[in-house]
Amino acid sequence: MIVREVTIRNRAGLHTRPASMIVREASRFESEFFIRLDGYEINGKSIIGVMTLAADQGTTLELHFDGPDEAAAADALEAVFENGFGEPV
């Protein structure tokens, strides 16, 4: 199990497009992927789940990875967040 902490960098927050980027990326890996925010946990491979996080710019999230390719998944997802989803930060 790997846990990483990331911050939402883009101005618009976690709206539909970033949520679908996260889900598409996560779906490439076998490992389970959960996102935690204030004790609320959602499946990171679910776009509806990610959207209901309602995460604005500046919000800090905990990413949990568990499975055979957890290291690669953690690096890939962290990069997606760090890039601010390719949007203005």
């Binding site: 679908s20 309602a54 203005p88």
Partner: protein, 596 residues
Amino acid sequence: MGAEPPGGERRVKGIGLSPGVAIGPAYLFAAGAWQAEREDLCPEDVAAELERFETAVARSERELARVATVAQEKLGPDSAAIFDAQALMLRDSAFYAAVTDHIAREHAGAGWAVQTVLDDVRARLEASASAMLRERAADIADIQNRVLRNLQQGRALSRIDRDHIVVAESLSAADVLLFSRRGVLGCVLDSGGPTSHVAIMARALGVPAVVSPHGLADHIAPGATIALDGFAGEVVVDPSPATLAAYRRRAERFARITAAAAGHADEPGVTADGHPVGLQANVELREEFALLHEYGAAGVGLFRTEMLFLTHGRALDEDQQFAIYRDALRASAPHAVTVRLLDLGGDKVLPFAHREANPFLGWRGLRILLDKPDLLRPQLRAILRAAVHAPADAPPRLLLPMVTALGEVAAVRAALADVAGALRAEGVEHRADLAVGIMVEVPAVAIQAERFAAVADFFSIGTNDLTQFTLAVDRGNDRVAPLFRELHPAVLDLVARAIRAAHARGIPVSVCGEIASDPRVTPLLVGLGVDSLSMSPAYLSIVKQVLRTFTLAEARALAEAVRAEPDPAQVDRLLASFLSTHSGDLASALGVGDIP
């Protein structure tokens, strides 16, 4: 409605959303009315129900894939991304697994399960403090409707034959896309404005559409014959043989004319004797910039910036605005874009606004901007920064909404100088030599036009508001709507006065109200001396065709005759006869001079 004798035709006046003439049987489309009933399954039916659900999801997926492809083609990647995300949601565990779980464990019908699961998601989003997320609830509602429709009435869409006219309370842009693929002839809606996504999509696809405020969807029998004119905004239900024949002629001519007009998109907007008139586009949504070249627009005469703010539910910051303006200016090159500063108030309110007893006479337009520098300054900064991305000889122009006092123009110029100074001090790339013009939409400005012409770099006449304020008529009020006449002699007096004052000072005048797109009125406006007309882009080619049929001298003579005429009904006749004389084909295609 309903009072007419059975068998008689019903004529309804609405608002044209997308030009064109269509005749066909009605198909009643009940979007949003897909409600599932609770039903308990026998255990042996569960497997079949799961399969029915999978079939509906697969069908929804195929629909969304088609919609995304067309959206990508017509409107660009931003629009397509929304449909891609919706397709992703269909296979989402929070949806798909939750629904199958519901069916398998609780033996709920698929429709009920879909509704229960998505109602819950939607409620969570709608309860959010973030406007951005509340907006996403609309995506969930779309998904819900789509899957329920495919479950309950999988045949619904495929039952629409070609050559039907869709009658609906409301449609989404995605619905219009699908319908147009199925060869639907036209749409009649109960809600939606000329600047809605539906309207823009319909125009982009060439599907004639009319919005009628009379609740037609509840009063038309399936299969009833409908004749609709998306230009005049007219719907005729069960037309008489004579009306039908007139509409058929109109449809034929209209098809011929638009085919011919499309070939002339690149020709300049000039009168028969070569007098140039700028034919420009009114734009509200970013997607529309991609369509400007196709329509042959000579730039953007009115870029409304309200939607940028209202769709986000909060003020966009400077960088977000900068990116939007930069893209808009690039897409419009080599022509200029006139950016109207945020025109909030009236019927467009941001969350911070309080409710007013009389919003059209209240805190709106420039009045808000001057009270709230945190709105005005970022917008000015963003436009000045974006201006370096415009062609050097066609910088953006700034248009001030709802001006009523000379001091307001001075205040904006002061803010502009201030902002430019700050950008210079910060070493930020920008351009400050932008023209500053004003909307002439309040009688006070037209009456004192000489004074305003001395402080403004151009005038843009907003005939909708000018008419409303001059005649004291709210056209949204059915009781008095017939009194709303943009060609009322008093309104024309004010228009003529504004033009005269502007030209005496050597500044240009454009008209950006709805009459700018009415080909009957084109010769009158040109005769009055208007330098450019700005309209919804779908109307440009037809107005250009009309413009090329008369000379400036003929237009001036018409304007003189109209100005001398005190009776508005007589004015209508003068305009109709001018159009019939100079472009007979167009006049009959547009039903000018038709019965009754």
